[in-house]
Structure formats: C-alpha cells, structure tokens
Symmetry: C3
Subunit: 137 residues, 3 copies
C-alpha cells in the first residue's frame, strides 16, 4: 500500500488524482487485478467522474450542496455534519480494474479526491490487489 | 477482465445483468475471492438491489429524479449534469464475494446496470479477484 | 468468507461493526491486501464514517430521511421503497485495505452496518482478498 498526501484549497472541491494513482501502479509489479483507492477521512471521499469539462465538477458540487445544505438542523457541534453526509453519499473508496499493468478507465473517466470540509492536508491510500492465479482465458 | 456490451433503451433505466456476470464467473477458474464489476462511463452506474418486484426499480428511478432533477441550474452545456450526479451517488462499481465458484448474493439481490443518459450502447467490465493463498479456516 | 449476524433494534440505525470485522481478519492469514465487507440485503447498507461523536450518526440518519422521505408516492406495495433507495445511495459494500495484518482505517473511521428497514436479524459477509505476489517495494 502506498499513501500520498493531497492538499485541498477550498471547503468543497474535486481534485484529479488519476495521474498520481497511475504512477503508483507503475511502481508495482501488478499486471492483472485492480487498484483500491481509499480515503482515511470521514469528511472527504473519492469518486470517478468526467475529466474533461470542469463545469461537470462544479455542477456536482452544486447538486451535493442542494442535497445536503450545511444549514440543516444538525446536532454534531463541529458544524461539519453536511460534510459527513456528503462523504457517505459519494463513498470513501473506488476500485479500478488493472489489465496489462494499466488502469482500465473509460475515455472520459478521471479519479477525483472529493473534499467536503477543507482546506486541509489530506491522505489517499492506493492498494494493488492481484487477480491471482485464476485467469480468464 | 471480460467486457460485455449493455444496450439501454430509455434515458433512465435499470437493467438486470446478474445472469451475465455469473456466466463470466463460470468461464474463470476463480473459486474463492470476489468479482469487481465496473462501468467505464460517467453518466451510468452499477448497483445491487431487489430483483423481484420491478416497481422497486421504478421507485428508485423516481427517488433519484427527485434528488437530482434535470432542470437544476447546471453549467455543463451537454445538458446531462443530472446524469453525472446520479452516477456519482449510485457509484460506478460493485464488488460481489465469490465462494465455491459462485457469486454470493442475497435471495433478493440482483446486479443492475443503471443508465442515466440513454439510450446508448454501454459497456461493463467484470474482473475476478483472488482471495489468494490466505484462507479463512 | 465469514458471515456474521447483526441484530438491529430500530427501523433506521447505524451499528458499529469495526471490532467484529477486525476479529475476522485476525482469524485469517491475510497480511497484505484488503477486506471486502458486503450486505446480502436490499434495504440495508454498510458504510465507513465517524466513530467518535454519536450525533454524527443521528445527523446522517436525519439527512437520509430528508433525502428520501418514506411518504414519497412509491409504487412498491411493501412500503419500504425509501429503504431500498437509501441502501442504493449508501451502498452495499466497503473495501478496507489491510497492511501488516491490520485494517487500515483513519483515526476517526469506523465501519457501520446501516439498517433502513429494521428491526431485523441481518447478516454481513467478510471476505479477505490478497494483494498477491506483486508487492509495492
């Protein structure tokens, strides 16, 4: 497992980490299997979405803000329960298949660290998992 | 990894792919581990839910439409940001345990390709992952 | 794969199962890889979130109730479509990296069984997955 640091610059933002995850994979001997990417935080998430038009990310932020506004009558005194809820909805891990030593992503797919309570210094774990002996021939 | 094509017939629909994923597993030598199912698209998803009463799927479609209406003030000019947001909420992959060469699913569970911006010809990746040498005895 | 039972005591509740998942891992020989935790139900889920202040869980329950109220005009006659929708949004599995034989979780992270249509006797599957021969050195 390799851990990288991800600095975030706003309270809510999506940061493209696809290139950095691909670099981790290149340092492994994994040719066939998958890569598990996890966030060790409870107010951030990781997701796969469009890597082309940046307005998609701002639209996703807007949709999430509408789904879980930060002014709901939350009980948690830290004032970031909206971030906990957004993290739960988006999810704390992604799995990406690996074939011939490469991430299998669609043309428009990128891996994004999703910050919901920044700015902070965050971490992201990348764990390669082997397909093992059984092969699909 | 094996890739299948999934034709979708409406803008939003859930398509049962459980049987096709099970067929892929039968073509592998995998007896103990898990199967990773991923969508290489950013306006579709994959999820596990009830396979019995079809009204559950129409209720899920209605709930998602209510959560992310397509007439929100989105900036993305393609006009499908609601589909990107629904894909993020539902998620682009599922993991199903494999034991004795079979998918471990509950009685009422089916694997569904979730289309949010169809109709289109879509793809679905199925990657077997081994439990490896360590066994739970 | 090891299956545990999880009794739930209310219609909607989050139950910390971190210790029980860690115990399963201790019974395996797995040192490097990941643990897949899945729910074989369609009206329950599993998620990772804050394990410290219990108000976070009640805030998550409130946010979900607001997102999918049980009085939407659902067609499914069993009257639990809200639970199916919440299960879809939260997700039916989590993956936790394993390093040196231990779950890799952040300081504030716990694994929670998420009940949306209890009380019931539920099940949870825990499947260890190996990183395999390829190692990140």
């Amino acid at each position: 497992m390799i851990t990288m640091t991800v600095p975030t610059e706003r309270r809510v933002c999506f940061i493209d980490v696809t290139g950095r995850v691909a670099e981790v994979l290149q340092r492994c001997a994994l040719t066939d299997g998958a890569v598990l990417v996890t966030v060790p935080h409870t107010t951030a998430a990781v997701t796969i979405n469009e890597n082309a038009d940046p307005t998609v990310r701002s639209d996703l932020e807007m949709a999430l803000e509408r789904l879980v506004p930060d002014d709901l009558p939350f009980a948690h005194l830290e004032g970031n329960s909206d971030a906990h809820a957004k993290a739960m909805l988006v999810g704390g891990s992604v799995m990406v298949p690996v074939e011939a030593g490469r991430l299998v992503l669609g043309t428009w797919q990128g891996i994004f660290f999703a910050e919901f309570d920044g700015p902070r210094q965050r971490r992201l774990h990348v764990q390669p998992l082997s397909a093992g002996d059984p092969r699909t021939d």
